[in-house]
C-alpha cells in the first residue's frame, strides 16, 4: 500500500474508518477535559448499580481511565469511597467488607497497574468464595489491543481467578452487566466478579435501564445453582446420620456463607454429633457450646484430628476437603463414610470420594434434613463423648501456655491471642494475616459469633490482615475490629495505615513481632533440619512508625503488660496499634508435615519443646 499525502500517513490502515477511530480515541485520551454535561453517562450507571445492590462503600484508587467515574462520584453522597494506598488494599478491604457484613464488597482500580494490583485480592476472594465485584477502567475501546498507555489484557489475567468477568465497551450494556455481576458474586457459591469498562463506555451517554432480578436470571441460563437437596439423597444422608456411632460434623465456610449456624447447631444437638470446624469454619458454632469440638487440620487440635481419624461417619457441611484438612487422602479417616453437602457440585468428589453427596445450600439442606434425622439421646453417646473429652484434655494440656510465659519467660503468642479474645468479649471481628499468627488466632481466641473471624485460608495471602480489617470495620461498624498480624505480613501492606487515619477507620492492630517469618522459620527448623534462610526479618521501630502516622501505639514485651496495652488500644476512638514483642522461636503445634496424614502430627520438637 502506498502512502497518500494528507491521508494520515503515520496511521496503520491510513484513511480507513478504523484508523480514524483510533486517532479520535487517542485525542480523547490526550485531552481529558470534556464539558461536564449532567446527562446520564456510563459512570453514573456504575454508581446507581452500587446503590441498588446495597454496596454503599467502595475501596478504590483513581487513574487516567477511571477519572470519568471519579468525576461523577461526588454526585452520589450516599456512596462512600475509601481512597486506599495501593489497589491490593482495596481488593482485600472489599473482601473484608463482604466477609464481615454478608454484603457484596466493591473495589475499583484504573487500567494497567491499577488493575494488576487488584489481582492478588481477587485470587484471595476466589479461593475463599467471597462475593466481591471489582471494577476496573480500560483504555478507550478503539485502542484495545494497541498496547496503549496503561493497557493490559486484564480480563485475560483475571479469567482464571474470578467466578466470571466482563469487558464492557458500550454504556448501554452496563446496567445489565453490573446486575449480572452482583447476582453472580452473591448467588450460589459466592465469588469475585470482575467488570472491566472502557473509558469511552464510562463517558458515553446512556438511557439503558437497570434490569429486574427476573431479567438478570433469564440472561444467565448457564447459572442455575441447585439450592435444595435432592429428597432421596436427604433420606440416605439422614439414615447414615441416624445409624452412625462415631459421627463427626465437619463445619466449613459454607455454613457461614449460607448463614446456617442455627441449623448446624440444631443438627449437632438433635443427633448428638461433635462439631469440628475448618479454618474458614471458625465461628460457625460458638466454641463454648458443649458439642463444639474444635479446629481441624494441619495445625488443628490433636483431639479433633484424632476424632476424625476414628470416626465412622463424617458429615461435611460446606467444606472442600482441602489438603490442609485431610493431609494424605489415602490415610484420611479410613473407617468413615462421608456425607458431603456443598452448593458447588464440583467440590463433591474433587479431593475425596464421597458416599452420600448432597448438592445444595447448606441452610436449606439442613432445614429439610433435620426432621428426617433421628433424635439421639445423649446417653447413647456417653462412651464416645467420654473418650472425646479425655482426648481433648490431653491435647489441650500439651499445647496451651495458660501462664502467658513461654520458654525463658518470653511472651507467648497464644496467650496474647487468648487475652484479645477475652478482653473483646469474644464479640469483636478478628482478622488474621497469614502464617503463625493466623493459626494462633484460629486456635486460641475462642470465637462465639459467626462472621467474627476473617482469614485468607485458601490463597494464604500475606498482607491480607490489615486491609481486610479496614473493610471489616466498615462492614460491621457495630463491632470492634482487630487485625492480628505478624511482622512479615504487616510489612507487606502497612501503607494502609494512612488510609485508616485519613478515613478514621477504627481498626486496632495487634502486631505479633517475633522478628521472623515465623512459619518459614518453623518449617526450616523442623523440615529443613534447621537450615535457616531468609527467616529473620528486620522491622522498623513500630512506635515511631505509628507516631509518624499519628496512630496511638503501645508496646508489650511481658505477660503482665498485655491486658493494659489491649485496654489502652480499646479506649482509643480511631485506629490504634499494640506492638507485642513475642518469643522469637515459638512454634505452632501440633503440626502435620506436608504430604503426611492426619495421624502423623508433630507435637514437640527438640530444642523447641512445647
Amino acid at each position: 500500500m502506498t502512502d497518500r499525502p494528507g491521508s494520515g500517513r503515520h496511521l496503520p490502515g491510513g484513511g480507513s474508518a478504523a484508523a480514524a477511530a483510533v486517532d479520535a480515541a487517542r485525542a480523547v485520551m490526550l485531552h481529558e477535559a470534556k464539558p461536564r454535561g449532567r446527562t446520564r453517562i456510563g459512570a453514573d450507571v456504575v454508581c446507581e448499580a452500587l446503590l441498588r445492590e446495597g454496596s454503599d462503600v467502595l475501596f478504590g484508587y483513581p487513574g487516567g481511565v477511571v477519572l470519568p467515574l471519579y468525576d461523577v462520584l461526588g454526585d452520589y453522597p450516599a456512596l462512600r469511597h475509601v481512597l486506599v494506598r495501593h489497589e491490593q488494599g482495596a481488593a482485600h478491604a472489599a473482601d473484608g467488607f463482604a466477609r464481615a457484613s454478608g454484603r457484596v464488597g466493591v473495589c475499583l482500580g484504573t487500567s494497567g497497574p491499577g488493575a494488576t494490583n487488584l489481582v492478588t485480592g481477587l485470587a484471595t476472594a476466589q479461593l475463599d468464595s467471597i462475593p466481591v465485584v471489582a471494577i476496573t477502567g480500560n483504555v478507550v475501546s478503539a485502542l484495545l489491543g494497541k498496547d496503549a498507555f496503561q493497557e493490559i489484557d486484564i480480563t485475560g489475567i483475571t479469567l482464571p481467578m474470578t467466578k466470571h468477568n466482563y469487558l464492557v465497551r458500550d454504556a448501554d450494556e452496563l446496567p445489565g452487566v453490573l446486575a449480572e455481576a452482583f447476582h453472580l458474586a452473591r448467588s450460589g457459591r459466592p465469588g469475585p466478579v470482575h467488570v472491566d469498562i472502557t473509558k469511552d463506555a464510562l463517558q458515553q451517554e446512556t438511557r439503558a435501564p437497570h434490569p429486574s432480578q427476573a431479567a438478570v436470571v433469564a440472561r444467565l441460563p448457564g447459572f442455575r445453582p441447585t439450592l435444595e437437596g435432592h429428597p432421596k439423597q436427604l433420606r440416605v444422608a439422614a439414615r447414615a446420620i441416624s445409624e452412625a456411632r462415631r459421627p463427626v460434623i465437619l463445619a466449613g465456610h459454607g455454613v457461614l456463607l449460607a448463614r446456617a449456624w442455627d441449623e448446624l447447631r440444631q443438627l449437632a444437638e438433635r443427633a448428638q454429633v461433635p462439631v469440628a470446624h475448618t479454618l474458614l469454619g471458625v465461628g460457625a458454632m460458638d466454641e463454648t457450646h458443649p458439642l463444639s469440638y474444635g479446629f481441624m487440620g494441619m495445625h488443628g487440635w490433636k483431639h479433633v484430628n484424632r476424632a476424625i481419624q476414628a470416626a465412622d461417619l463424617l458429615i461435611a457441611l460446606g467444606m472442600r476437603f482441602d489438603d490442609r484438612v485431610t493431609g494424605k487422602v489415602s490415610t484420611y479417616a479410613t473407617g468413615a463414610r462421608i456425607v458431603h453437602v456443598d452448593i458447588d457440585p464440583s467440590e463433591i468428589g474433587k479431593n475425596v470420594a464421597v458416599d452420600v453427596p448432597v448438592v445444595g445450600d447448606v441452610g436449606r439442606v439442613l432445614r429439610s434434613l433435620l426432621p428426617l434425622v433421628r433424635e439421639v439421646p445423649p446417653a447413647e453417646r456417653a462412651a464416645y463423648f467420654a473418650e472425646l473429652a479425655e482426648w481433648r484434655r490431653e491435647s489441650e494440656a500439651s499445647s496451651w501456655h495458660g501462664s502467658g510465659a513461654w520458654r525463658d519467660g518470653l511472651l507467648s503468642a497464644d496467650y496474647v491471642v487468648s487475652r484479645i479474645g477475652e478482653l473483646t468479649g469474644h464479640d469483636a471481628t478478628l482478622v488474621a494475616d497469614v502464617g503463625q499468627n493466623q493459626m494462633w488466632l484460629a486456635r486460641y481466641a475462642g470465637f462465639r459469633r459467626p462472621d467474627s473471624h476473617l482469614s485468607s485460608g485458601g490463597l494464604g495471602t500475606m498482607g491480607y490482615g490489615m486491609p481486610a480489617a479496614m473493610g471489616a470495620a466498615l462492614g460491621r461498624p457495630d463491632k470492634a475490629t482487630w487485625a492480628i498480624v505478624g511482622d512479615g505480613g504487616f510489612q507487606m501492606t502497612l501503607q494502609e495505615l494512612a488510609t485508616l487515619v485519613q478515613d478514621r477507620i477504627p481498626v486496632r492492630i495487634a502486631l505479633f513481632d517475633n522478628k521472623k517469618l515465623g512459619m518459614i522459620r518453623q518449617w526450616q527448623e523442623i523440615i529443613y533440619a534447621g537450615n535457616y534462610h531468609s527467616a529473620s526479618l528486620l522491622g522498623p521501630d513500630y512506635l515511631k512508625l505509628c507516631e509518624a502516622y499519628g496512630i496511638p501505639a503501645w508496646k508489650a514485651t511481658r505477660p503482665d503488660q498485655v491486658d493494659a496495652a489491649i485496654a489502652a488500644a480499646q479506649a482509643v476512638e480511631g485506629p490504634a496499634l499494640v506492638w507485642f514483642e513475642i518469643a522469637e522461636e515459638q512454634n505452632v503445634f501440633p503440626m502435620m508435615p506436608a504430604g503426611q496424614g492426619l495421624s502423623d502430627l508433630i507435637e514437640k520438637w527438640e530444642g523447641a519443646a512445647e
Partner: protein, 190 residues
Amino acid sequence: MSDEAARPAAPVARYVPGSGTQRRHVLVAIVNNRTGVLNRVASLMRARNFNVEALAVGHTEDPAVSRMTITLRGDDHGLEQLSKQLYRLIDVLKVQDVTQERHLEHELALIKVRASAANRSEILKIVELYKGRVVDIAAESIIIEATGTEEEIDALVALVGGFGIKELVRTGSIAMQRGSNVIEYEGVNG
C-alpha cells in the same frame, strides 16, 4: 455402652479420586457463542490439569450457541470432575459425555502425500478403499481428504505414510448421538 463407641473395622486405604483406569472420552459442550468462551474453556482445562487430545468448535442450528467436542483421556472420576468444572463457567450451558451412549464420531483430515506418475494409481486405490477423496493433484504430490473415525484416519495415514507424508492436518472429532436423541440445553432464548 462401650460397644456403642466401638472403633470401625480394620481401616482400608481411602480411594484417591483420579487414580482409576484411564480411558478415552468424548465430551460435547454447548456454550454461549460469545467472545472469549473458547479461552475460558481452554484455560479451565489447562488450569485443572486435563490433557486434551482434540478440540473442535463450530456453529450450530442455534446462532446463540457453539458446540465444542472435546476428546481426552481420563478416569471416570476425572471426567465427571471436568464436566462439573465446566459447568462452573457461566457460559457453559450443557456438558455431555457421549462415550457413555451410542454415538457417531467423525473427523476430517487433509493429507499431502508424495506421489509420482509411477505410484499415483496405487495411492488412489488406497484412497478409494478408505472412501477418501483426492482434492488436489500436483506433479509430485496429491492431497487426500478423508473423513472417518479417529481409528480410520489413523489407519489411512499409516497406509499412505509409506509414500511419504509432506503435510497432515486433522480437525479433531466431532460427535453426535445416534438415533433421535439430541443434547438438550436451556439457552438465553429459552
